[in-house]
Every structure is written in C-alpha cells, then in structure tokens.
C-alpha cells in the first residue's frame, strides 16, 4: 500500500502500521483516514501529506 510523507516534519504514514495511538488501525489506507486526523509528530493537517 502507498506510504505518505508529512511535508512539514518528514513523518511517514505507513498503512501497514497505521497510527493506533490515534485510533487509526493497521491496514488503513491514507485515503480512508478521517479528515480531522493530524500528523502525530508535528500536528500538521492531512493536506500537508504527499505520496512517498
């Protein structure tokens, strides 16, 4: 699955890992993450992510 990277801090969202601490289960595609989710490292919005 496609990984996405935060352009603000460089955090990589890996769908295989998800972001369980913030309620995103492993296996969740980036497109399926709720719009109000923010980068767990820097707090930037979902708009700030680009395909890795």
């Amino acid at each position: 699955m496609q990984k996405w990277v935060c352009s603000v801090c460089g955090y990589v969202y890996d769908p295989e890992v998800g972001d369980p601490e913030n309620g995103i289960a492993p296996g969740t595609a980036f497109e399926d993450i709720p719009e109000d989710w923010v980068c767990p490292e820097c707090g930037a919005g979902k708009d700030m992510f680009e395909e890795a």
């Binding site: 603000v8 930037a44 708009d47």
Partner: protein, 403 residues
C-alpha cells in the same frame, strides 16, 4: 573490536542517524552523547507545552527500550567538551575520553539573544529545550504580562500558547510586519488581525533597546520611544549553530560545519547533520532537513554511498485559529513578478501564487491549505502556466490544471 561510532547530540538528526546506521550495521557500538537529561523528543512541540504539564511518554521520539533493543548506548547529561580529530577522540564533560571510528556532529543550534542591556535578568527566557519550558512554566505561573521578542514562526506560536493560558502578551517585531520571511504583507496583516482578536498586542518596527529590572527581575522593556511593562520576556530571535565545539580543530566552518552531499565534513570520518551543518552555504535549522540529513549521515557512516536528498523548505503554522502554509520564493527581491491571487476577507482566506517566466515559484496559502501539495508539486516540476490564466488572475483555472 571496532571503536564505536560516536554521535554528539540528541535531536532528530542524531536519532535518525543512529537508526539508519543500525539498519545497515548491527555490530559496531553506537554511543549518543546527550547534554540533556532526556532521550530525544519532539522539539517542535515545545511552544505548545507552555503552561502545560509535561508528559515525557508522549514527547519522546522513541521510548528508552528502543535504544536498548537496537544496542544504542545513550549517555544522558553528558556533553562533549572538546575534539581531537588527529587521535579520533572526544573528551566528554564527565572526564571520559572516547575513541571513535566515526564521529557525527549533531549538536544542533542555540537561541540567538540580541546583545541588549538587561538580557541576563531573571525572567528573560528563550525556548529551545524541555528544561527551558519547565523554567518558563515555573516562573510565569503567577505572572500576567509577557513580551515575546520576535514575530517569526516560534515567536507567534509562543505568543498564541501564552495567550491561551490567559497571559497578556505583546509581540515585538523589528520588521514592518510579522512573519515577514514566511508570508507576504497581505497574509501578515490578516494574521495580525486574528492575533489581535485573540487579545495579542503587536508592535511592528519595534526596536528593543533595553530590558529594565528591579532586584534582578524584569519589570519593563524599553523600546525606541516607549516603555512597556513586562513581568517576563521570551526571545525568539533565531538560532545559531553550535560551532564552538569544533574550534581549534581542522574541521571547516562557515555559519555551520560545512558538509558535502554525503554529510562528510572536511575531516575524514567526521560527519555533521541538522542545525549544526551547513550544506551549499545554507543552515536551514528546520526539522525535516535535520531528519533527512541525519539519515543520510547514518547511511554513509555505515558504508553506503547515499546523496542527501534535498528537502524543499516550506513553512506551516497553526496559530490564532488559522492554518497557513508557504513555500518557495515569495519574490521579495524587488524584481518584477506575476501573481495569481484570491482574497476572501470575510472568511479570512487568502491564497497567492508567485510566478516568474510563466512558472510558479512560490505560494502563500492562508486559511485554506488544501491545495498545498498540488502547488508545491507544480513549483518543483516547473509547470508552465498559460498566459491567459495569469492575465485573468484565474485561481480556479490554475487549480484545475494541477493534479
């Protein structure tokens, strides 16, 4: 046994380097020297912690167990005192001499404090570390009036955080408008208006000449032409690379320690990354650059040949209830440029794309950052914008072109 790889510093550059090194070399010992009593943490969050309890578990980039699992030895509260690049040793402030096979300088930068009288009074701070935040929090708990010197990204974040804690805050900015490096004048004025609504006072063109105190504690500040009461002052007037450590070594230094695309310094087996490093004449001092440079250094120290993949610097800020993003060249050099812009004053939304030779070179997005990545891609790819779209200031037409 091989001498260890020694990493001086404890920020994102250091940790990224250690991680990348370990992925390619399981055997060589790795030692990280951290001057702070903490493992590496998310430094970007510091301003948001003002007036808040500290939760280290949330702040740590990796838990202490992570280092143990990867066999990375972290020496907390331990600073490098001096280097001997001829004998490949680091002298630490706990009196130990460590021999290294490879050395990474990732010892970052420190706040720049302008040399004004009174800058050493109690109640004058800068925010760079968790301990700085602890000190500020302790001091301001029973204080009301604060001054933030510097209206850049950190200064505004600090002001916003303090205002949210009920403090009366004034931001002193030397330029004619706040965030003058990151946005254009229109966006700056919109932002300032929102800050004022949130109760923050701004003094632009403000020249701080003295900090005045009584019994060693700050009581007011002197600007050209006026005095403002102040119980505490926070400086956010930029940072400078910590190049003091490499003085008296042959390592080449400009504003920072100079590195090539492999993050190598002028001395063999010595690398540098992050805020300490100067690459192509630039010290960026921002998180994504430090992360990428650290990773590059770690890979090369492990024997790979990997170029630094240049990060295009952008700015993202969430303050006063609004999000803003800027990227690239905002055409502030006085030479002619074209632009496509859209202003919705009522809803505090504003976007401008800067154009030269029919190509987008920079942008500011205020209030609506949705197209940020599309625009940044268009800048990177030198997209040609049809003359008609520029002439008609056709923002929607431009967006429709971007995929």
């Amino acid at each position: 046994m091989t001498d260890p790889v020694v990493i001086i510093g404890n920020g994102i550059a250091a940790v990224s380097a250690a991680e990348a090194f370990r992925e390619n070399d399981r055997g060589t010992p790795v030692i990280i020297l951290s001057g702070e009593p903490y493992y590496a943490y998310y430094r970007m969050w510091l301003s948001s912690l003002l007036g808040e309890p500290l939760d280290l578990d949330k702040l740590y980039i990796h838990k202490p167990e992570w280092y143990a699992e990867l066999n990375i030895d972290v020496w907390l509260n331990c600073r490098a005192e001096s280097l001997d690049t001829e004998n490949c040793t680091v002298l630490s402030d706990n009196g130990k001499t460590i021999k290294y096979s490879k050395l990474l300088l990732a010892n970052g930068s420190s706040p720049f404090i302008p040399p004004v009288a009174g800058n050493d009074l109690t109640g004058v701070f800068s925010i760079r570390s968790l301990d700085d935040v602890k000190k500020v929090n302790e001091y301001i708990s029973d204080k009301e009036n604060g001054i933030v010197v510097g209206g850049g990204v950190l200064g505004l974040e600090v002001a916003w955080s303090l205002a949210n804690k009920g403090k009366k805050v004034s931001v002193i900015e030397g330029s004619p408008y706040i965030l003058s490096k990151q946005v254009d004048e229109t966006a700056s004025h919109l932002l300032m208006a929102l800050g004022e609504k949130a109760g923050i006072n701004f003094v632009t063109n403000g020249k701080l000449t003295e900090i005045i105190g009584e019994n060693g504690k700050v009581t007011s500040i002197q600007l050209e032409g006026k005095i403002m009461p102040a119980e505490f002052v926070v400086f956010s007037t930029g940072v400078r690379s910590n190049i003091g450590l490499v003085k008296n070594t042959p390592i080449k230094v400009g504003r920072g320690v100079q590195v090539n695309e492999y993050m190598q310094t002028s001395v063999e087996n010595v690398y540098a990354a992050g805020d300490i490093a100067e690459y192509k004449g630039q010290v960026y001092g921002i998180w994504p650059v430090a992360r990428e440079q650290g990773k590059t250094a770690g890979l090369n120290m492990a024997g790979k040949q990997v170029h630094y993949n240049e990060v295009v610097p952008s700015n993202y800020l969430k303050v006063f209830g609004v999000e803003l993003y800027s990227v690239g060249d905002l055409c502030k050099d006085g030479k002619p440029f074209d632009s496509i812009k859209k202003l919705d004053k009522e809803n505090n939304k504003y976007s401008i794309i800067f154009i030269r030779d029919s190509k987008p070179v920079g942008a500011v997005l205020f209030g609506d950052t949705k197209p940020a990545m599309k625009i940044s891609k268009a800048i990177k790819s030198n997209l040609e914008i049809p003359e008609e779209i520029i002439r008609n200031n056709d923002f929607e037409g431009l967006l429709a072109m971007l995929q």
